[in-house]
């Protein structure tokens, strides 16, 4: 744990002694770690270990759940996200999120991407909006497939396309950070590999945090990996190190498939 605190000084995001409670039940215990800018960090661990809960601390999506309480500090560029001065609405414009199940709005492809820029007033006219939509779809690797059907219902796209649309929708508002909560768990292997390639492409522009059930995926896409178990951060370090020389026996047991 000492190593992670040392690494923190120049981190983009820092979590310090984060505790999360659902009503009386504690879901996270004193989690502290630092996350590097423009890199991919993956959170792994068995179901119910708190990795998704932790991810949702970074854009305060836990606020949406009435019984949920978050203690401790989450620092983005050294500003505490949980301070009353932070408006979660503005925060979420800086920290985009992609969810487990593709959740395009029941609107057209164009309107899905334009939704964020529109509510944040990012485009002054139709040309600017067109540019943002095209640019976001290109960054999400979806432009070629949907450029001729921007006015079709987004729900008519395939699952993988829908998920990339959700990524395009998230990056359309120009966030620094992207949170991905098991973005491939509802997708087939081909769509998954497309998304994984996309994540590697996006890494040069965004700081990406990804929760995943697939250890191969964590190994393929991330530079750093954090292993959670029963609400505790067990081990955190370079992905390569975690997967080849895990320091903790629990981590080793999980990675080698003995528990999970």
């Amino acid at each position: 744990m000492d190593t992670s605190v040392e690494m923190m000084s120049d981190s983009k995001l820092k979590a310090q002694k984060v505790n999360v409670f659902y009503a009386e039940k504690q879901a996270l215990f004193d989690v502290s770690l630092g996350i590097d800018e423009k890199s991919v960090t993956s959170f792994i661990g068995p179901s119910g270990c708190g990795k998704s809960t932790f991810l949702r601390c970074f854009n305060r999506m836990n606020d949406v759940i009435p019984s949920c309480r978050v203690q401790g500090q989450i620092l983005l560029d050294d500003v505490d996200l949980n301070s009353p001065k932070i408006d979660p609405v503005l925060l979420r414009a800086r920290v985009g999120m992609v969810f487990q199940k593709p959740n395009p709005f029941p609107k057209t492809v164009y309107e899905n991407v334009a939704y964020g820029p529109r509510i944040h007033g990012l485009a002054a006219n139709r040309q600017e909006m067109d540019f943002i939509v095209e640019d976001s779809l290109k960054k999400a690797g979806l432009w070629k497939e949907v450029s001729d059907r921007l006015n079709d219902q987004a729900t008519g796209l395939s699952g993988g396309q829908q998920q990339r649309l959700c990524i395009a929708r998230a990056i359309a508002i120009g966030p620094d950070i992207l949170l991905m909560d098991e973005p491939c768990s509802a997708l087939d292997p081909i769509a998954t590999s497309i998304i994984e390639e996309l994540i590697s492409d996006l890494q040069s522009r965004f700081t990406i945090l990804i929760v995943t059930h697939s250890m191969q995926q964590a190994a393929r896409v991330s530079q750093k990996t954090a292993y959670f178990h029963l609400g505790q951060l067990i081990e955190y370090g370079d992905t390569k190190g975690i997967f080849t020389r895990p320091q903790n026996e629990q981590t080793e047991a999980y990675i080698s498939g003995k528990i999970g």
Partner: protein, 470 residues
Amino acid sequence: MTFLTSNVALLILTIIFGFVAYTLAHQRIRSHVARDGVKAHSLVKYYGVYAALWTLVPASVLALVWAFAADPLLINAAEARLRLAYPSLPPSFLELKAAQLQNIAAGFIDAPDEIMAAEAAALKESMNRVDLARVLTLLTVMMIGFLFAFLRITPQLKARVAFEGFLRRSFFAAAVLAILTTIGIISSLLFEAYRFFSEISMIDFFFGTHWSPMVSLREGTETAADEAVAGSSGSFGMVPVMLGTLLVALIAMLVAVPVGLFSAIYTADFAPRKVRNVIKPALEVLAGIPTVVYGYFAALTAAPFFRDAGMLVGLDVSSQSALAAGGVMGIMIIPFISSLSDDVISAVPQSLRDGALGLGSTRAETMLRVVLPSAFPGLVGAFLLAFSRAVGETMIVVMAAGVAANLTINPLESVTTVTVQIVMLLTGDNEFDSVKTLSAFALGITLFVVTLVLNIAALHVSRKLGQRYE
């Protein structure tokens, strides 16, 4: 033995028979299993149930048929004898006499003359004989049913399968019964409406703009021909009545949709759990108020209020204004709309809300730009259902809306509705087969078609909601 005591005795006997059949079958299967050393196909209790059902069900069905068939047959026979005894009486009086006869036979009233006394005695005598026959027949059927089942009970008998089949058929019978009842009601409506339309042309009825069935009677002698003439001159034109109905329902929707929808939005997405737990039951209390209470609220409070308020600003508001009836009806359907809308809004997946919130939408933006557009088809469906309810609502308009069929869309004037007219036409001392009365059935079938179309449209629109969430 009177009818009542024989029936009670029969019922008790039937229950005892059922238990006995169950127990005997139970014992038989047990002894079989013990003797042959084989395993029974089903649990032993199924053999008991099997025997009990064979004992009770055929007899019950027969008893039901008998109850419907036997007495009418006897009474018909008595009526035929009365026709011989009183050759001069018209048929409708004979029916009355026959009804009287039953009451005399049952001992409720005294016989007016000797013929009736004798006939009543004969009827009573034959009823008693038939009753005895019925009891004996039923007991026999029970015995036969029991023996049939009892003798078939062996470990190989698939009693559980038979019981499953019985249950499946019972469920099916219940479903068929519900449908048959509906068909029966509709066909009786259709039949009476057909009689009406054989007197009044459909064009006059559906497109006529003058509705005054009562007036047409007062104008002359009460013959069908006169009514037909009066009718064809425009007295049975339903346009003002339907227009009044739609006006009142529309006013109701104007009150109920904003309030109901907004409160649904609040309870579904904004209210803290504690507030929601208070508001939802409170709205359901509103739904539990009998419509007649709303009716006198409309007639005694709302209508005078609107009239006085109108006077203050120099408007002439009728004391039975469409506004008062429609407004109160709107209050009545608020819980209907809010509860349906709440369901529809809650059915929008949380993932869509998360998606919108995750992009930095405020809660209101999430509601207005994502949740409501997603829920739109379901909401339209809910509104159509509410509208169809408003169209069919009766009690409030009977008490608060007018009777005169004014052709107007001015909410301050008095209008009448289809339901009010049906009530007016079918209550009071009216001859049942006059054109006037028959027109109630024509109105009824029209109302039925209107609400049916609204309900089908509501279902059709709502079904699209499911498709959108795949």
